[in-house]
């Protein structure tokens, strides 16, 4: 399966982060534990598009506009 942006990911899928947007937001994402190459789980997709992802035990809410800037690849397990 090809790459997508995070806003298009369905609830309950594992995906790998391919590219984060640059700038301060990238640094903030890396600090929270989301970096390129990481495998993440999409825990919830709220109506409107706010995404909640989970990495290990950490849950992180990501706004729709930010999700659109994150390129990911769906992981088939």
């Amino acid at each position: 399966m090809g790459s997508k942006t995070l806003d298009k990911i369905k609830k309950g899928t594992y995906f790998t982060i391919e590219k984060l947007p640059s700038g301060i937001v990238k640094v903030q994402l890396i600090r929270l534990g989301l970096s390129e190459g990481d495998t993440i789980f999409c825990l919830e997709r709220l109506p409107g598009g706010t995404i909640i992802v989970q990495k290990n035990r950490q849950e992180i809410a990501i706004g729709f506009e930010l999700a659109k800037l994150i390129s990911v690849r769906i992981k088939i397990i």
Binding site: V27, Q28, S35, G48, T50, N56, A61, G63
Partner: protein, 676 residues
């Protein structure tokens, strides 16, 4: 630019605090960690006093310091790393830079997130010791972390702890004594070498390479580029992941952990009913219990009946006064009114004084003092700087603000607030805000002044402007809300419907317009969701106490300034002049009786005065609707106005304030022309 100025203020302030320590030469121990790692519980143990612990990153930036044995201990705001992305980080960074020893508290459940800061502290060359907090939760979830291995990999002492169970605190002395400079990657020294030679401190050199402009400016050396920072951050992230995979084992594969309630409160389908339940509970606690029963007692009984009565009758001993006493009698609907006039002072006629004292102490008596002496009027009159402000601050505002902060503290500590912010994120996006803005907006229903201070936690100037505008234009504070609720519920269903839809549409129109025309971009939501847990009451009480204290300290003086301003308007007769000027607009455009103008002018002082002024006017239901719409959209109270000027600057503050006059009369008038 503004950021830099603000920062300099911060730094100066910090310099003062920090240099005190240097003067007496005490070593500085700094507690550092991510938000919600239980840092403050460690600090409490060391200091015996309390600090704010919070689930929602960033409410106020406070620095707390205590003496412990022969050293000074500092608590820092929770941060994900040392840098200057926001105020908390700047404050934490400056304290950490000055530290001799850093005690790094780590949430063992979120090692991957938290070790990032740990490695950064090690790369800064600080002497550190690490505490793995939440050890009990770890065991509950059958997660194993090998502290010895972790200590070996980091090169610093690592201790297990469970702060809520008071386990691990006994290791603090050892941790302070044994703190070490950890293992740094070899490559780091090549990168730092040149800058280190110029600034002399490894910690500062690292921050400069990581692109911290403020530190670079302090040493006037060129600042690292974003690319260098990214390379360092990614390398650090990889080291963290490697360490975690070595030291951490999950015993049973219990799959993904979620707290059911936490999950349900995120999705609107289940989250909105949960929110409604929360709001109902909140309404009964704040709207009914505190703002009706408690405030009725504190303001009417303690404030008016005792405090103001004794204060004013004491003042009347020394200055001429005219005192009217109204006794409301249930059986005799005609009110008994008596007026006592003292040309010199209360003591000129003992007989009259005794009669006045007797009558005014009747249970149902309402006593009104009028002083003719200008100074006495200014200090103790209807808008007296001393009489009105103290009643207002202590007996009306204090219980309300405390109740609101208490409710917020419970929601924060339970982990609900960040989930609420997440659920409402998309809705808030439409008006140019992100989910975090629910905090100031919700606080606005308590006190707009308090909420305006909280807009600081928003990500960009643009968001701060939009949130402040919403607060000032459309959010009625609790004092006003109480009066509105009484008047509207008497007016009927249609007026309620008209009122709510007009106010709501105004909110939507104003905020979407601002969102469209304000330059720049709003920041998207990015928050971590802490685990849901039952809030601890004692912590919530302490937090309420500290925040309420902080608010009263910051805002009180402005209430006095406001009262002085209005008192001067009153004494000079300008207040009456205003009412006369407004009268034609009131009668023709808003189709209200002339006296309603008084209510609007009073609204400038205190929003509920404005609304309360409508009680005595015998308005038709539709007139009530128009009057309430106008007064809701009308300018905020004088204290909120001054705090807005402080937070948003003179120009923006004045634009918002004056446009509130225009919106209120424009929209109120249009509604009046249609429905009356």
């Amino acid at each position: 630019m503004k950021d830099i100025i603000e920062h300099k203020e911060h730094h100066l302030h910090l310099d003062n605090i920090l240099s005190e320590g240097t003067k007496n030469g005490l070593p500085k121990i700094v507690l550092a960690g991510n938000p919600n790692v239980g840092k403050s519980l460690f600090f409490n143990y060391l200091s015996g006093t309390y600090v704010d612990v919070s689930n929602f990153p960033g409410t106020t930036v406070s620095i707390t310091k205590a003496l412990y044995k022969n050293s000074e201990v500092y608590d820092t705001p929770g941060v994900y790393g040392v840098s200057s992305f926001n105020d908390e980080e700047k404050v934490a960074r400056d304290i950490i830079l000055e530290a001799d020893i850093v005690i790094n508290i780590v949430n063992a459940l979120h090692l991957e997130r938290d070790l990032f800061l740990t490695l950064q502290l090690i790369d800064m060359g600080k002497k550190i010791s690490v505490f793995l907090n939440f050890n009990d939760e770890l065991k509950k979830r059958k997660i194993l972390i090998d502290p010895k291995k972790l200590s070996e990999l980091l090169g610093v002492p690592v201790y297990e702890a469970s702060a809520v169970k008071k386990m691990g605190f006994e290791k603090l002395d050892e941790a302070i004594a044994d703190a070490k400079v950890g293992i740094q990657p070899d490559a780091l020294h090549h990168v730092l070498h040149e800058t280190l030679n110029r600034v002399g401190s490894q910690a500062e050199a690292l921050l400069i390479i990581e692109g911290d402009e403020i530190i670079a400016e302090r040493h006037s050396v060129p600042c690292g580029s974003g690319d260098e920072r990214e390379i360092i951050y990614i390398e650090r992230r990889n080291r963290v992941n490697e360490i975690v995979s070595t030291v951490e084992r999950e015993d049973s594969s219990r799959g993904l952990f979620f707290n059911a309630l936490g999950k349900y409160s995120l999705n609107p389908v289940t989250g909105i009913p949960i929110l409604l339940v929360m709001l109902t509970v909140l309404y009964f606690f704040i709207g009914d219990f505190v703002s009706q029963r408690v405030v009725n007692f504190t303001e009417k009984t303690i404030g008016k009946k005792y405090f103001e009565y004794y204060l004013k009758s004491y003042v009347a001993n020394y200055t001429p006064s005219e005192i009217s006493v109204i006794i409301k009698d249930e059986e005799d609907p005609a009110k008994r009114l008596r007026v006592y006039s003292f040309k010199e002072n209360l003591n000129e006629d003992q007989k009259v004084k005794q009669e006045f004292k007797h009558v005014s102490r009747d249970e149902n008596a309402v006593v009104d003092f009028k002083f003719s002496n200008l100074i006495a009027k200014l200090l103790f009159g209807e808008f007296g700087i001393i009489s009105m402000t103290i009643t207002y601050l202590l007996f009306l505002l204090l219980p309300l603000v405390a109740a609101f902060y208490f409710a917020m503290a419970l929601m924060e500590d339970s982990g609900y607030l960040p989930r609420l912010a997440t659920m409402l994120d998309r809705m808030m996006n439409r008006i140019g805000l992100n989910g975090r803005a629910v905090i100031p907006i919700m606080l606005g229903f308590g006190c707009v002044t308090m909420a305006t201070i909280t807009t600081r936690l928003l990500g960009s100037e643009r968001e701060k402007t939009i949130a402040t505008a919403i607060l000032m234009y459309v959010i009625p504070c609790s004092a006003q809300l109480a009066v509105i609720a009484v008047l509207l519920s008497g007016a009927g269903f249609l007026p309620i419907l008209i009122y709510v839809s007009v106010i709501f549409s105004t909110l939507v129109v104003i905020s979407t317009t601002l969102n469209k025309f304000l330059p720049g971009q709003s920041t998207p939501l990015l928050i971590d969701l802490p685990i849901m847990r039952l809030p601890k009451l004692d912590n919530a009480f302490k937090k309420t106490f500290f925040r309420t204290y902080g608010f009263m300290k910051e805002a009180s003086v402005w209430f006095f300034v406001g009262a002085l301003f209005v008192g001067l308007l009153d004494v000079t007769g300008l207040l009456v002049l205003f009412q006369d000027i407004l009268a034609p607009i009131t009668t023709h455009w808003l189709k209200l009786p002339k006296e309603a103008a008084t209510a609007f002018v009073m609204g400038v002082v205190r929003r509920d005065f404005g609304a309360a002024g409508l009680f005595g006017l015998h308005l038709m239901p539709m007139q009530i609707t128009v009057a309430l719409i106008t007064i809701t959209l009308f300018v905020p109270c004088i204290a909120a106005f001054i705090i807005m000027i402080k937070e948003r600057g003179m120009k923006e503050g004045l634009i918002i304030w004056f446009s509130a006059w225009i919106f209120a009369f424009l929209i109120g008038g249009i509604v009046a022309q249609i429905i009356i």
